[in-house]
């Protein structure tokens, strides 16, 4: 098909022909086209089906406010639903599909909804799908879900990259029409750092769509010259294809730049879109205005569009939607459309102006004081019927109708910080109110100044005001000469005549009747109206429809529109792809992966890894003969107790505490005493929250009088450090103490088992005596290893065996694990992972995150006596509350299966064997393990009055798996309760 509806002129590059398809049909367009303009050029008016009634719809606007022409753009993984054809730039090879229709756009089976429209009025879903309740999930929801929603997803992963960017400027100018360009020139020439953002791919705004002059040259050339000058200014950044989405606190703005949406595929290393965070000291809203519809019978026929859009298509894109066009208007704006299209050779069959005093602006028939009462043509407009001022009806044959009900300033961003709008009678619309976001002003049509001269003037003035407020020196700019016609509008929100549907919100299919029904049923507040009828709740946020709906409601309630008020505008100004909000934080980029110093070595050993927070830790090290993880874990755990094992424990948090008051500080932070800990010794520390609940535990090693190293659990490294800084700065400001996190600075390995000392003796430099007498249990010290490398050695044990933790600077961690493995070869040293670590600690009854779950007190853990009452400590006072020390309360206990074949379930609930397994249980299992040493399943758990129930057999209810088991209550110290091994 040829471009049958192309006119002469326009700002398209006729030398560059672009091929594209819509619903499989091949078409041609030109560089500079949008998908909408190119479709119109090919005589395509039908572009979509409406959401609810599946009404055939055509494009009504030429900008981002478009409610109808939503398509699925591209195919495969890049397919994107709900793309507005009006802002989709044409590129060679573009493919688009219409949405919300089956089997085809011209014949849509669900168009049957339209026949039942009397039943599908406002609130239909609320009224109909109420009963029976059993139908909600199984019956109603699947049906509604299938019928609802526009477009479809490819269900493939998005192959494109999305970036985030940050910018700072003195003045952010939002919109590059006449006001924005004049403001940018003023601020730019005066040396301010300016960002000028516009959602279009060409700067100039309406200047590109109008036939008028500025300073004696065509307005669009003035715009192009101005942009050229701005480009040369180093202090001005021009951002086209960039929509400012939201205004946030303290001059922070979100902006979406479409870097590659105008290309078939982004260039290599190019993000598809960038989400900018712009820090603007001042901002100026020059976002222009959106034309509004006049509702009349069947005003949604494909071919009915905004008069301003019809003019833009003609002047900018050299396109007309029909050979014969009509205009329906209540302002002079509609007459400009008729004048311009007539000048381009289009037959203007009539301008229907509701104002009796209207006069023509050119050579075309005018029907003053008339109204359009109906539109014909289901799949495309064939004609309009009007009621003339003399009372007669007349039908005009036409394929396109331009409607102008007046213009609404684009004030959305002024309301993002709860700003309220003010009604302006002269333009019959809302303008920005007194409280704008910090540092924001408005100019041009966005401020209600509708002539080009006013726009230029207000842009200059507001830019100067913004610069003045920053204390920048300014020289004013002479205001260019431009059109300065007065704007006059006689509000006409809908045509009363006719019983058919008169459409307000095209995207959500809300009619004048729906608004009246909402009023009749008591949904009169604008917020209720919105939610009941869904007016303005579609992805276009009612840019073309809200005011019309409010006007109908105002009429019904007898209030003014100002009294009726508006709903609240919220970000984003236009829809944003979720991928853009995610940026690079998708997939593996969502969170960093932290690798332990021995990671690459562990990979060589064939380790299986597990995520522990951000860390990847070796879970176990399977050998070739092992087919089940339990075989590996049992072997590792047995090896530690029999000979020696090694485990990377770098992930434990480490905080370096230094200063004359370091001991006093730890004495305050930990519930147990630290003041008297000698140099060269470690101590277990129990840290409470101020409410008496256990926060964390770890060890503190005193390396010098004024120097401690404390450890935290892996999960709590960040929160504990934050808490310690809070105590230091806010509660103990007079103490001489400094903290720093050294978690990443030191690689640390546990070497555990009866042969641990023998292994370490081969690594630690000989001047350091590791004998039990010289370096006993809980000793610590700074040593050297492998011939002079500085290291720290702690004789602490999580496994209950003779054990050490040895730390070296992180970069030596991988070398050290290899040295340890070599030194341990004679003892068959076994690397063990987090699973075996867990088995060993459950066997010893040590609490970890499962037990320190934010609900347990020291008493619950059997460590109540550790909380000193002889000193001040965080959490000590409230830990003595009765409720936390109830003798009948929970107590950490051990549990063992009665035979070797039972596996205890973690999370299983505990009941006395005689009690029914229902209601509130007496406790639960927190951690379970198979103990290869005991040959059976064991567990830790909390049990009411646990200490008095040793030996009792309790029931473990696991209703999720239909299990009911029994276990014996025992001491949580399954292995070596006297602790002889770790002291050996």
């Amino acid at each position: 098909m040829n471009q049958t509806h192309r006119l002469s002129g326009g700002q398209i590059d006729r030398d560059r022909v672009l091929n594209f398809t819509f619903d499989g049909q091949a078409y041609k367009g030109h560089a500079g086209d949008t998908l909408a303009s190119a479709l119109l050029a090919n005589g395509v008016r039908l572009m979509g089906r409406s959401f609810k009634y599946h009404r055939p719809r055509g494009v009504i606007s030429s900008g981002s406010e478009e409610p109808n022409a939503l398509v699925e753009l591209r195919t495969g993984a890049r397919q994107e639903p709900n793309t507005r054809a009006t802002v989709a730039e044409l590129y060679d090879g573009l493919t688009a599909q219409s949405q919300n229709r089956w089997p085809s756009l011209a014949f849509d089976a669900l168009g049957v909804n339209d026949l039942f429209s009397n039943f599908l009025t406002a609130g239909f879903y609320y009224k109909t799908f109420m009963w029976p309740r059993a139908f909600w999930e199984k019956f109603y929801e699947p049906i509604i879900r299938r019928a609802a929603g526009l477009g479809s997803l490819s269900m493939e992963a998005d192959p494109d990259a999305y970036d985030k960017g940050f910018q700072h400027c003195d003045l952010l100018i939002i919109g590059a029409g006449p006001a924005g360009l004049a403001a940018a020139l003023t601020a730019g020439r005066n040396g301010a750092r300016v960002v000028l953002a516009d959602e279009d791919f060409t700067f100039g705004g309406r200047l590109n769509a109008e036939v008028e002059e500025i300073d004696g040259k065509p307005a669009r050339l003035w715009a192009a010259d101005t942009v050229a000058e701005l480009k040369a200014l180093p202090n001005v950044r021009l951002m086209r294809r960039t929509t400012v989405l939201g205004a946030f606190d303290h001059g922070i703005y979100a902006a979406l730049e479409r870097n590659a949406d105008h290309l078939a595929v982004p260039e290599a290393d190019m993000p598809r879109q960038t989400l900018w965070r712009i820090y603007a000291r001042q901002s100026l809203l020059c976002a222009g205005a959106t034309e509004r519809m006049i509702a009349f019978q069947n005003n949604d026929r494909p071919g009915v569009m905004m008069a301003g859009a019809m003019r833009a298509y003609a002047n900018r894109w050299a396109v007309t939607a029909g050979r014969q066009v009509a205009v329906f208007t209540n302002t002079d704006s509609g007459h400009r459309t008729a004048r311009d299209l007539a000048a381009l050779g289009v037959e203007v069959v009539g301008v229907i102006d509701s104002r009796p005093s209207a006069t023509a602006l050119g050579d075309y028939p005018i029907f003053a004081g008339a109204q359009v009462i109906d539109a014909k043509g289901k799949l495309g407009l064939t004609g309009v019927t009007l009621r003339r001022s003399d009372g007669r009806t007349q039908t005009l044959a036409c394929q396109a109708l331009g409607v102008s009900g007046g213009w609404n300033p684009n004030v959305s961003l002024t309301c993002h910080q709860r700003g309220r709008l003010v009604w302006n009678d002269q333009i019959a619309s809302f303008v920005p109110g007194g409280t704008l976001p910090q540092g924001m002003r408005s100019a041009g049509a966005a401020a209600g100044h509708f002539s080009t001269a006013q726009a230029l003037q207000s842009g200059i003035e507001m830019a100067l005001a913004a610069l003045d407020s920053l204390g920048l020196k300014t020289t004013p700019l002479p205001c260019p000469r431009a059109e300065d016609g007065a704007y006059e509008v006689t509000p006409l929100w809908y045509v009363p005549e006719g019983k058919g549907r008169k459409w307000l919100d095209f995207q959500n299919d809300v009619t004048v009747k729906d608004v009246k029904l909402a009023h009749q049923e008591g949904f009169r507040s604008v917020e209720h109206l919105k939610r009941y009828t869904t007016l303005g709740m579609a992805t276009d946020q009612g840019k073309t429809s809200n005011l019309g709906g409010l006007a109908v409601m105002a009429e019904a309630t007898g209030q003014s529109i100002a009294e009726t008020g508006t709903t609240i505008f919220r970000p984003p100004y236009t829809p944003v792809a979720l991928g853009t909000l995610a940026g690079r934080a998708a997939g593996k980029g969502f969170k960093p992966t932290r690798l332990t110093p021995s990671h690459h070595w562990a990979v060589e050993q064939g380790a299986v890894f597990v995520e522990a927070g951000l860390w990847l830790r070796a879970q176990y090290f399977p050998r070739k003969s092992e087919t089940h993880w339990r075989q590996s874990v049992d072997r590792e755990a047995l090896a530690v107790r029999k000979s020696v094992g090694v485990c990377d424990v770098t992930t434990l948090g480490k905080v370096d505490v230094q200063g004359a008051d370091a001991a006093a500080f730890l004495n305050l932070v930990y519930a147990n005493g630290f003041a008297k800990l000698p140099v060269g010794k470690c101590r277990y520390g129990l840290m409470l929250r101020e409410d008496g609940i256990v926060m964390d535990d770890g060890t503190a090693a005193r390396l010098a009088e004024d120097h401690f190293v404390v450890t935290t659990t892996t999960a709590n490294a960040g929160p504990v450090y934050r808490h310690m800084e809070f105590v230091r700065q806010c509660l103990a400001p007079e103490m001489d103490v400094q903290l720093i996190s050294t978690t990443e600075a030191w690689a640390q390995f546990a070497v555990a088992g009866p042969n641990a000392r023998a292994v370490l003796t081969r690594i630690v430099d000989p001047e350091h005596d590791l004998s039990n007498a010289a370096f006993p249990f809980m000793a610590c010290g700074e040593i050297t290893v492998c011939g002079g490398l500085r290291a720290r050695l702690f004789r602490i044990s999580f496994s209950g065996e003779l054990a050490y933790e040895i730390a070296v600077p992180s970069r030596y961690g991988e070398a050290l694990i290899r040295e340890i493995m070599a030194a341990g070869e004679a003892f068959d040293i076994t690397p063990y992972g987090t699973e075996a670590l867990g088995v060993l600690r459950v066997e010893k009854g040590h609490a970890t995150a499962n037990e320190l779950n934010g609900q347990t007190s020291a008493d619950h853990l059997g460590m109540g006596r550790m909380v000193s009452d002889k000193k001040e400590a965080i959490g000590a006072v409230l830990s003595r509350r009765e409720g936390l020390n109830d003798p009948a309360g929970l107590r950490l206990m051990g549990f063992e299966a009665l035979d070797g074949s039972t596996t205890l379930p973690a999370g299983g609930h505990l009941f006395a064997t005689s009690a029914p397994q229902q209601g509130v249980s007496e406790g639960w299992l927190t951690s379970v393990a198979y103990s290869p040493h005991l040959g059976k399943s064991i567990a830790l758990g909390f049990l009411e009055r646990g200490q008095a129930r040793l030996g009792e057999v309790v029931t473990i209810a696991n209703p999720l798996q239909g299990q009911s088991l029994t276990a014996r209550v025992v001491s949580p110290h399954f292995i070596d309760p006297e602790g002889e091994r770790l002291r050996g």
């Binding site: 606190d249 303290h250 101020e690 806010c730 509660l731 400001p733 007079e734 000590a876 006072v877 409230l878």
Partner: protein, 95 residues
């Protein structure tokens, strides 16, 4: 939001972690006669004003300062920012 850090100048609020009412600086004396009651009130009874609020923010992705930020909770206007340590020290010198 942008928080004007007393040492580092204006910083994005994303760099901070929020804790809550700055009254947490005023920790009761542990040996006072009504210590249990005082700690209960200190921990659980806090104002939640619509308007000016003194609150604690931690510059976790910055210099690790705890700050006392006086903020209007209805407008997010920030009226003053102090180092929490300075506030705590001033309290000591008064007491």
């Amino acid at each position: 939001m942008i928080i004007p850090h007393p040492l580092l100048g204006p910083r994005d609020a994303q760099e901070f972690t929020y804790l809550g009412d700055a009254g947490l600086i005023n920790r009761p004396y542990w040996l006072s006669e009504d210590a249990a009651r005082a700690f209960h009130d200190y921990l659980y009874l806090r104002d939640n004003p619509a308007g000016q609020h003194r609150e604690l923010w931690f510059h976790e992705q910055g210099d690790r300062s705890w700050l006392v930020v006086t903020r209007d909770t209805t407008s997010h206007e920030i009226l003053s920012v102090e180092l929490a340590r300075d506030v705590a020290l001033a309290r000591r010198s008064v007491a």
